[in-house]
Structures are given as C-alpha cells and as structure tokens.
Amino acid sequence: MTKVPVQFTLNGREQNEFVDSGSTLLAALRDKLGLYGTKAGCHQGTCGACTVIIDGSPQLSCLTLAERCAGKSVTTLEGLTGNGALHPLQQAFMEGFAAQCGFCTPGMILAAKSLLDRNPSPSRDDVIDAISGNICRCTGYDPIINAILTAAEQLRGARKSA
C-alpha cells in the first residue's frame, strides 16, 4: 500500500505521519497514534461514535480520509484535557450521569463542543440538533442533553468572569 506523508495539527500540536493512502482518519488516530478516545462504532457513518472536530466542524473520522486532513486542525477527545483538568463538558457529563457504557460519550462531547464553540447559548433544540447524528443505546439522551446545557451555562459564566 502506498504511504503518503500528512502534516496536520492534532490537538494543538504539529503532527507528521506517514499514512496508508486511502486509510481513514479514524484508523490513523486509533491504530497509528493510539488515541483510543475516538470510538469505532459502525465504520460507515451512521453512529457518530467516531466524531472529531476538523477545522471547527464536527466530522465523522470513519468517513474522512487521513490524507485529506493535510494542513487541517483536528481535535479529538484527548485534546480537551490538555492541562490535565476535565473540560466543562466532561465535568457536566460526569456530574449529570450522562454516560453509562461510555461508548457514545467521546462523539457526543465533541459534537457538543463544536456546537458550543459556534453557539455559546444554544437552546434545547439546538443541542438536540447538534447530537442528532450520534446514537446512544444506554442513557435515553435526556441526561446528555441536560449535561450539554449545563456545560454551556458554565462556559458562559467562566467567560463572563474572565
């Protein structure tokens, strides 16, 4: 298989990799870089578990070719805990009991982060819309929606006091 060099920003740091041509970003993250925060659910774009943020927008890493990420900025779940502390979204998920098996959680959190980056004051419907491509089989979604709204509120508060 042809190897192609890819230069991109991963969680704020410059990353240089040789990836198999035609392989997915999901494979690069998990199999090459050992970043298991990104989950592989269906490998066909229907579950949302593999969601990452590419240049600000939520993308399915199982449908994204690794080589297409050249020059782009990719954020995975690991990028949220840069300074060792939990991100407000992670904190809110934990405190709001918004994870059970946890398989959907990384994708949910990144879909939510991308929403809150664009819209710091989302309505309940905005949140529902943002996570409608992410399947959860455990929680009934309600705790997830509430956790995202709680995190949004906290982030607004933090911004105000900053």
Partner: protein, 355 residues
C-alpha cells in the same frame, strides 16, 4: 387531520435474579500493604454502574471510604465465579457476596488492630476516614494503612475475606407449579401520555411518568439513570425497533443504523420518576434489582394510551404508524367489530369481547 390524545398505564412486578441450576455469585476481598481493599469479581460492569455500587457496598461494610476500595472485575478465567450481570441480579447477588466477604476481612482487620492497640477487637470500630479507633475514646486509634503494614510484616496475616450469595435451585411443586426461582421482587408503574395523528397513524409519546419501588436506592442518581435509559428502550420497542418493518421481503429490512429505527434525541417524551424505598429483607442494605424492568412497563402503557386515544388495540410490536392507521380504518369501516373494545371494559379480554 386530527391529533388525539390518550393516556394509558401499566405496572410490573419484577423478580431479582433467576434460577436455572441455582444462582450463585462470589466475591473475594484482600487488603494491600497500603490499606486499600481489592474486591475481586468476575462480574462485568457493562455501563450499569456495578463497579460504583459494589465499591459503595464494600466501603460501607468495612467502614472505609470508597476511594480505598478497588473493584477488579472482568476475568472469568481467574476470578471467583459469578453467574453474570443479567436478570437484574448484580446489585443483589454480588452485593450480598461482597457484604459477606467484607465482614470476614473486617474481622481480621480489627483483630490485627486490636493487637497493635493492645485492646479487645470487640471494642474497636472504623471511623470511615481510614482509621480504626477504640469506641468511646477516639484519640486511641490507628491508621488502616498501619494495620495493613503490621498484618503483612509483623503478624503474618492476610486481611481478606470470602463471600458468596446463593439462591439455591428451586424445583416446582408438581401439584401447584409453585416455586421460588427469584429472591425479592421490585415493582413499578408507568403512565404514558400520547398524541396520535389520525391521518398518518404517527404516535408521539408526550410523557412517561413512572414510580419505582426498588427496595433501597443505593445510588439514587444511578437508579434514575437506569429508569430513564430503560424508559427510552421501552419507547423504542413500543414504537420503533424491528428488523422487519413493513415489507414481507426480508431483503427490504434495515441494514444499518440509518434504517433500523430508534427514537433520537428529538423524539423524547417528558420523563418524570418517583423512587419508593421499601427495603427488602434479603437485599444488600435492602436493595432490589432495578435494571431490565425499566424497559417493561412503558411498552404496555404506551399501547394502552394509543387505545385510549383512538380505540385501536395493536397487539404486536412495534406499534408502527401503518398498524395504527390500519386499525383506525378498520374501526371506521366496521365499528361493530370494535364496539366492545370501545367500551374499555377492563374485565374483558379482547378475545372474549370479540365473541
């Protein structure tokens, strides 16, 4: 187009555990040299919160904080035997086994502490914050860390305990069929409110309100988490999930998550839950199993609410718009057939009513 509202209820009595050839689970506990307690299980946490609740049970029995308890699950080759986490049995069976193991470990712990403090073990208690003290004179105390070190390096003792809970095999009495397959029973009731679109047959569940009697909610937030997750699953079974939705040909069935329908975050009803506690005599701290049952009562409650709204009794799942619409049409076409059902006479079964 008319939207009709209806309300329905259903209740469930749910056994904790089940009984094929007897229903046992084991737990082993030992203290490390640092005074942490390792609970070895082969039971599996699949997201229901087993590890958290087992740590609570162990910590409460030992009188230490949950941070000092490590729940080590997952290896069924090497761990003490467990029948498994199914049949809503985890909290009850494994919890009881842990209580038994923790009591044994605690007695060794207190014996070693007694030697170190030169007092009688019967006069000692844990303070819940990592120390063992003499009852009534708390200044005379020793850190559990030091007890663990002394046990290992001075007294040559293992601070450990073995536990098992067994619900023995129950054979039915030939005359009556009576048997005792389970332990305590949990109870719940759900009221569903729906809105049915009489033109499209679509059903929207507006609210699912439930009351659960769970013995004791060892972790109330997790009990609520189970109830909401389960209500969603019930809603999903009631109205959406099937591998063979409309077509007689299997090839037309769903092949992925795009076609296999489930309620999404936009299809949620209002959930509201009440937890009632009536401790079970045989449960760990009174707890019963609250797992699977949470998906049960929402289903007949929704079916009853649809009946209440449009008079259509659908007796196969899921209750798709197509089935509702066919029912509405049959009703319009041949009201006679449906009249007895309309009477909503709960004493009559649908079959009896048809005759």
């Amino acid at each position: 187009m008319t939207k009709k509202r209806g309300r329905g209820m259903a209740s469930v009595n749910y056994p904790t555990g089940m009984n094929l050839g007897g229903d046992p689970s084991q737990a082993l506990i030992h203290a490390t040299t640092t005074g942490s307690f390792i609970v070895t299980l082969s039971s599996v946490d699949l997201g229901q919160g087993l590890k958290t609740v087992m740590a609570q049970i162990c910590a409460e029995t030992l009188g230490v904080s949950t941070e000092n308890v490590i729940i080590d699950t997952a290896d069924t080759d090497t761990g003490p035997h467990c029948m498994g986490t199914f049949a809503s049995r985890g909290t009850h069976r494994i919890g009881n086994a842990i209580i038994m193991a923790a009591k044994e470990a605690k007695s060794v712990l207190l014996e070693v502490a007694a030697e170190e403090l030169e007092v009688d073990a019967g006069d000692l208690e844990t303070d819940g914050a990592g120390n063992i003290r003499v009852k009534g004179s708390p200044q005379k105390s020793i850190a559990i860390l030091n007890v663990a070190l002394a046990a290992h390096f001075k007294h040559g003792r293992t601070i450990s305990g073995r536990g098992i809970f067994l619900q023995p095999r129950s054979y039915p009495e030939p005359e009556t069929g009576k048997m005792t397959p389970a332990t305590c029973y949990a109870h719940a009731c759900t009221v569903a409110e729906v809105e049915v679109d009489t033109e499209t047959g679509e059903v929207q569940v507006l609210s699912l309100k439930s009351a659960y009697e769970v013995g004791r909610a060892l972790n109330p937030r997790m009990v609520e988490q189970q109830i909401i997750g389960g209500a969603w699953m019930g809603l999903s079974h009631a109205l959406y999930e099937t591998t063979e939705p409309y077509y007689p040909n299997r090839a037309h069935g769903p092949t992925d998550f795009n076609q296999y329908l489930m309620p999404g975050p936009g299809d949620l009803p209002e959930f509201s839950n009440v937890i009632i506690e009536r401790p079970a005599g045989d449960g760990p701290f009174g707890a019963k199993g609250v797992g699977e049952m949470t998906a049960n009562s929402p289903i007949p409650a929704i079916a009853n609410a649809i009946f209440d709204a449009v008079g259509v009794r659908v007796d196969s799942l899921p209750i798709t718009p197509e089935k509702v619409l066919r029912g509405i049409q049959a009703l319009a076409h041949d009201p006679e057939k449906w009249t007895p059902v309309f009477r909503k006479d709960h004493a009559q079964t649908e079959d009896a009513a048809r005759h």
